[in-house]
């Protein structure tokens, strides 16, 4: 198969749409296809319109398309909302809806008695599985791997449930044969496309465990909450503690307290919760306590669109809290990057004794990415900056905030006999005692900022994807990565485009960005926000102004076609 296939399942919230979609995704992934899963849902428990879209390809696929090939419509609303998205030759699977054929020229209308078949399989709840069985047939696959996936997903509910689901799948699979729709996919040899499918939140949570995070303190907030769910479920197996606090203020404060006694600790939230944490962000900075803060952005300001995506918080992260202090901001572009970078985040926080903000968004947090060739041992845990009891006791005079060349001073941990000191939110002297002396104030500010030089040296540089000398250079950060890379692949025969992707955004990698942009023939900024925050940052830090800005702020991610269309405007 060369052509990519996009399948959308839509219906009311509570229909189990995401679970169904993921079963299909995992099946195809096991069969050797690459997949990307994207879900849309409103901030409701029941009712409202939910969709899950799966893009399937032989080659890499990292983004969602606007156009689809198969629409599984579990209700009429799904047809009405998504009929404009159908490619010619597309299939709609529905159950008994009165659709006017003249509205759907070039589209295969498949009226499949989902409920009837589900009931004959043993239960109306298997409706989705009937539909997926039919989809498997259209795709030209048999049900072997699909059945395996059903066992995997529902095995803990008992053999009866699995048998019922398998029957439902078979009924859907057989029923659709009479429609004689050509197979979309050539059956592959069955070698897996990779080892894992996971969201960036799952990858982040797993990376946190890998990094030795022993305390995660949080208050639930979409779309960051699933990190808390995952860690909560795994906490006993991996000897870490998840503590839910009364609010985000307490969450960050508690994490700081644990970090102060030597625990690798983190907190996580979305923009609104982060707003509450801002006060203590400065506390971590002033006391020089290592802290990892995960912020998964959603459409804002205020409550905004709670279950939709945006990249609106970058400048907020850079400037959050009163006063000036160094910090890291890391924004991975997909789940694999999230897995590695969150581990780096813990190492960096501890090495430099400061806050590290790990910036995700709804698109990353809740989309299903495939991960091939993940190496769990790639990032080593590096514990740095401590001082042992012997060293301490050999010292006449331990100074927690010693003025050092690189600004980093060794931490004695509460409990160590000879290290008693004040961890101080007041400006302080080298021992930690409060001071308002002008010279010490200046020295301590300089101490904290001295870390910047080494921070810059330790940060990986932004990656340039594609050839060096392209006609167009796209600049983006974080989650826009997938759509840009997929779009580039689709136009590469006729157009030369490269892509500068920023992940380690702060301190700002000005030298590298400036060099790439000044050598570029034409530059296009792509951001999922209203004001082009990275663009402004680039101008501030390099003096380079990007005039071509493609910005989107409707709560939706960039669909690949939109990027392709935009590229074509320039070359």
């Amino acid at each position: 198969m060369d052509k990519e296939v996009a399948i959308k399942i839509g219906g009311e919230a509570g229909f189990g749409i995401k679970v169904s979609g993921l079963i299909l995704g995992k099946t195809l992934f096991s069969a050797g296809f690459k997949v990307f899963g994207y879900s849309e849902y409103p901030s409701l428990i029941r009712g409202g319109h939910n969709t899950y879209q799966l893009n399937i390809a032989k080659n890499d696929v990292l983004s969602v398309t606007k156009k689809i090939d198969i629409l599984v419509a579990l209700n009429l609303e799904t047809v009405e909302l998504h009929k404009e998205e159908l490619n010619s030759g597309a299939v709609i699977i529905f159950d008994g809806l009165k659709l006017d054929k003249s509205d759907f020229s070039g589209v295969n209308l498949v009226d499949l008695p989902l409920t009837d078949l589900a009931e004959s399989a043993g239960g109306a709840l298997t409706r989705n599985i009937v539909a997926l069985g039919a989809v498997m047939n259209i795709l030209g696959m048999d049900l072997q791997l699909f059945n395996q996936e059903l066992e995997h997903e529902f095995g803990d509910k008992g053999a009866k449930v699995v048998t019922m689901d398998k029957k439902a799948a078979q009924l859907g699979y057989d029923y659709i044969k009479k429609f004689k729709i050509g197979a979309y996919l050539k059956k592959e040899d069955g070698s897996k496309a990779g080892d894992y499918i996971m969201t960036a939140n799952e990858a982040t949570a797993q990376g946190m465990i890998q990094a030795g995070c022993k305390l995660y303190v949080a208050y639930p907030m979409t779309p960051a909450t699933s990190i808390m769910h995952i860690l909560s479920a795994k906490q006993r197996a991996y000897d870490l503690v998840v503590h839910q606090t009364e609010d985000e203020i307490s969450a960050i404060g508690t994490a700081i307290g644990a970090a102060a006694v030597g625990v690798r600790a983190a907190t996580g939230t979305s923009g609104g919760g982060f707003a509450l944490m801002v006060e203590s962000l400065g506390l971590a900075a002033m006391t020089e306590i290592p802290l990892v803060i995960i912020e998964s952005q959603r459409t804002a300001p205020a409550t905004g669109l709670p279950t939709w995506t945006e990249q609106g918080d970058l400048q907020f992260m850079i400037r959050a809290a009163h006063g000036e202090f160094p910090r890291f901001i890391i924004a991975p572009g997909d789940a694999a990057e999230a897995f590695y970078m969150i581990q780096e985040a813990f190492n960096l926080a501890e090495k430099f004794q400061l806050p590290v903000i790990f910036l995700l968004d709804k698109l990353l947090s809740e989309s299903d990415f495939m991960l091939g060739d993940i190496d769990p041992d790639k990032i080593k845990i590096k514990r740095e900056g401590f001082i042992n009891d012997d060293e301490l006791e050999g010292m006449r005079d331990y100074k927690r905030y010693e003025l050092t060349k690189n600004g980093i001073s060794k931490r004695a941990l509460p409990g160590q006999l000879a290290g008693v000191h004040v961890i101080n939110s007041d400006e302080h002297d080298e021992y930690g005692y409060s001071t308002e002396a002008s010279d010490m104030r200046t020295k301590m500010m300089d101490k904290r900022f001295k870390k910047l030089e080494q921070m810059m040296a330790d940060m990986p540089e932004p990656q340039l994807y594609g050839q060096r000398n392209a006609d167009l250079t796209i600049v983006a950060w974080g989650s826009v990565k997938g759509a840009v890379i997929d779009a580039m692949r689709e136009v590469e025969d006729k157009r030369s485009v490269n892509f500068l992707h920023l992940t380690y955004i702060w301190p700002f990698p000005a030298k590298r960005v400036k060099k790439v942009l000044e050598n570029a023939k034409n530059v296009l900024l792509v951001e999922n926000n209203k004001t082009g925050q990275l663009g402004d940052l680039i101008r501030q830090e390099t003096g380079f102004e990007i005039k071509n800005r493609f910005l989107k702020y409707d709560g939706r991610p960039f669909f690949r076609e939109e990027i392709i269309k935009e590229i074509k405007k320039y070359i």
């Binding site: 307490s250 960050i252 404060g253």
Partner: protein
């Protein structure tokens, strides 16, 4: 190093509190209590609010976390989760405990984390020239209430009793011996302990003076008053509102499992010492 007195809890810095400030009495009682509990400076972490009492971070030789206004409790909870071997105390004023950070008091009482919260309650924001706090009596004139405070004050003991605190006491700054015993009992208590400490502010509270307190205070007689009954504790906590008398002592103490003891991952070595290596958690499809 080995000083056989409470003086080992002194730093080289002398207190900057006003002469006659109630903080001196509380400070002395705290140090004496730690000494009598056989604790060494490195075994204690005190998380301080800001303000007059928070300045104690510089004068008191233990590990200290000088936090933000209203935010002394969360780091104390984190420190206890991280290193259960530390004696963890939060030192807060009435502004930070019952105003700005009141949620942390309520919820850590509810969690029953094994920390001690000492509240220096002088009914004023004194470091900032004596504005009204959540415990300032009605009609009191301060810079922010020139026509008299309108709002009803909080009853701190009722608040923590109703929040589930397993140890609730009230002390008086200028009765050092009594207060020392209260602090010792609070630190020894397994679970969340709250000691509200009445404290004269010689600069900004001209109503609730040392003499005023001496007239209204009386000690709960441990032979007559048993601190094991929540309803009785509530009645005692309301006594001042009813008859103008103010009991001090332990109002309530109950055995309740601590939050930490119910988390199996916290058994054994303290959390900060647990091995970070050798984890491979990735789950294959």
């Amino acid at each position: 190093m080995a000083v056989a007195s409470a003086a080992k809890f002194n730093t080289s810095i002398s207190p900057t509190w006003c002469p006659g400030c109630g903080n001196y009495g509380i400070w002395a009682a705290l140090k004496q209590a730690l000494f009598e509990l056989n604790l060494e400076p490195h075994q204690v972490l005190i998380s301080y609010d800001i303000g007059c009492c928070g300045n104690g971070a510089n004068f008191t030789r233990t590990y200290a976390f000088h936090s933000l206004h209203g935010r002394a409790i969360p780091p104390a909870v984190g420190a206890k989760l991280g290193n259960k071997n530390l004696a963890v105390i939060a030192v807060i004023g009435d502004g930070g405990a019952y105003g700005e950070g009141i949620q942390h008091l309520i919820h850590s009482a509810r969690y029953n984390v094994d920390i001690t919260v000492l509240v220096h309650n002088n009914q004023r924001f004194s470091l900032t020239t004596g504005q009204a706090t959540a415990t300032t009596p009605q009609k009191t004139v301060t810079l922010t209430t020139p026509f008299g405070e309108i709002k009803k004050p909080i009853n701190p003991l009722l608040l923590s009793l109703d929040s589930g605190a397993s140890f609730v006491a009230r002390g008086f700054a200028n009765d050092g011996k009594h207060l020392t015993e209260l602090i010792k009992a609070a630190v020894n208590h397994k679970g969340f302990s709250h000691v509200d400490i009445l404290q004269p502010c010689v600069s900004f509270n001209k109503e609730n003076t040392n003499e005023w307190y001496q007239n209204v205070i009386y000690k709960l007689d441990s032979h007559k008053y048993k601190a094991d009954d929540l309803i009785r504790a509530r009645e005692k906590a309301e006594e001042f509102d009813k008859n103008g008398k103010m009991p001090i002592g332990i109002f309530y103490q109950a055995e309740r499992q601590t939050y930490e003891s119910q988390i199996p991952q916290l058994a054994g070595e303290p959390l900060y010492k647990k091995s970070l290596q050798g984890v491979n958690c990735l789950v294959k499809l």
